[in-house]
């Protein structure tokens, strides 16, 4: 069964801005799906329509077989939403926020309290349960929104930039948590600007640009399209003449730092063989950007030219 089925979804805002131009999108049950795009591409509008926060102009949305127009309550029961912006009452305490959310889904008070406790403990903010939400740190606020989204045990979890502004340690622990609940059967749709996050977590990916889906494939297939990788090399001594190596292009950052673009077919081995032959010793290497990021920028640039 498909967790999400979007057909010819269009959204035109009152000011005339067309945010979605008839997109089609399918997400399989149990998938970890990345929805990527630049700011204003249409990601949040898509998520907003699925979560009933935005009215669609036309098209259809089905969640686990339930039609959003015919049975919105059934659709809502399937979805847990973690929005981009903090949207809880800043004056309420943490426990009340999560418990009330369970109540909105029709979960009786006693059971709601039990579920709230489980979720807050899972997200490691149980010890903050009696504090007003405004006094939480940024990372804790993000985790509170995740706990709130999970309290009714949704089958589809939508994460709209869930790790924005949190430190690396918390981000990694959140990734581990998302992987765990996905492995337990929850379908997850993720939008993020950290492409490393999408590459690390997701199995399928769609890229939206200017209201259109320009790529919709599995992550492996997309990464296989990558034709080059960029490395930053630290070399031991200054070199008078920059070598010319087949399949590589070298850009000098400073006397002992080079940015090297390596064609996939040439391979990094050939680069090191050539440098060794020339007597150039490499003391350090790092991957300048991840593969998905390069592909993403390339795809947007191509489409941008087409549109322009």
């Amino acid at each position: 069964m498909k967790a999400l089925e979007i057909k010819q979804l269009e959204k035109c805002y009152n000011n005339g801005f067309v945010a979605l131009k008839g997109i089609d999108l399918d997400v399989k049950q149990g998938d970890f799906f990345a929805l990527l795009g630049a700011n204003g591409a249409g990601k949040s509008t898509t998520i907003g329509i699925v979560a009933s926060l935005v009215n669609k102009t036309s098209g259809s949305v089905r969640v686990f077989g339930h039609d959003l127009d015919k049975d919105p309550e059934a659709v809502k029961r399937c979805i847990g939403l973690v929005p981009q912006e903090f949207n809880f009452n800043q004056f309420e305490n943490v426990f009340d926020i999560v418990e009330s959310q369970a109540g909105y889904y029709g979960i009786p008070r006693k059971k709601a309290a039990e579920r709230a406790e489980i979720c807050l403990k899972q997200l490691e903010i149980w010890d903050k349960r009696n504090e007003p939400s405004r006094e939480l740190s940024g990372g804790m606020k993000r985790r509170l929104m995740i706990a709130r989204a999970l309290v009714h045990e949704p089958k589809l979890l939508i994460l709209d930039e869930p790790t924005a502004g949190v430190d690396i340690e918390i981000r990694r622990s959140m990734w581990a948590f998302f992987k765990k609940i996905n492995a337990a059967g929850t379908t997850i749709i993720l939008t993020t600007h950290y492409l490393e996050e999408a590459e690390s977590l997701c199995r399928h990916i769609a890229i939206i640009n200017k209201g259109e889906v320009i790529e919709n494939t599995d992550m492996k297939g997309l990464l296989a399209k990558s034709s080059e990788e960029i490395f930053v090399l630290s070399i031991e001594h200054t070199v008078e003449t920059i070598p010319v190596i087949l399949g590589c292009s070298i850009h000098v950052i400073d006397e002992t730092t080079w940015q090297v673009s390596v064609q996939k077919e040439a391979g990094i081995h050939a680069l090191f063989n050539e440098l060794t032959t020339l007597g150039i010793k490499v003391t350090g290497i790092r991957n300048e950007s991840n593969r998905l990021e390069q592909l993403f920028l390339k795809l947007l640039a191509q489409k941008g030219r087409n549109y322009d």
Binding site: S52, A74, N87, D96, G103, Y104, Y105, R109
Partner: protein, 257 residues
Amino acid sequence: MISKEHLVALQTITYKETRRFLRIWVQTLLPSIITTTLYFLIFGTLIGSRIGQMKGYDYMDFIVPGLILMAVISNAYSNVVSSFYGSKFQHNIEEMIVAPMPGWVILTGYISGGVLRGLIVGVLVTIVSLFFTDLNIAHPVMMIVVFLLTGVLFSCAGFINAVYAKSFDDISIVPTFVLTPLIYLGGVFYSIDMLPVFWQNVSLLNPVLYMIDVFRYSILGESDIPLRYGFLVIGFFILSLLVISLRLLNKGVGIRD
């Protein structure tokens, strides 16, 4: 169809709304008690003793029903307008929109909060009035009914105000420029019989007049307007505002793009 889940959701909103106004009771419950006490003291005791009788009652006895109802009106209204606008402002209204609740559950939840606050303040102000006059309530059941109907009507009005409000300034415009004049010109401090015929007829367009009149009847046992007209007008306004509120909520006006 009303399901068990809907009732739980309604209970949750009502509980949350009640918890909100009780948490900030100094801002929500206390001001009306202080203001009304001052009215009793100044208009009832000090000035009232010089006015003499109004429609055969001591002036204090005459103004007590209107002042109690004034507190109910302003509290029911301000509870819903500030809570719903606050939820819009902080975007936590989205918590309810994404949940499987029909519009009527959300609306009824907010109205329940407004009615409860109005009722609590109404009872407190009634207790305070006992320090100034012997209150012999002629029709106690009708008094409670009018409490509730007034609470529902002005909770709806507060809701509509909050839907259209775009800033905190907008939620004080209606109470200042519409609600207060309607209350003051609704016969709290005088009987409409005292007005020239033209202004008596103009006053009949004011829905607050009917509420105060029916409420005064429930306490004193006497009214300016026949009761059936009073309840008809109240019923008409409640029904109209409920329909408008529900339509606005279902269309997502002010809360959904």
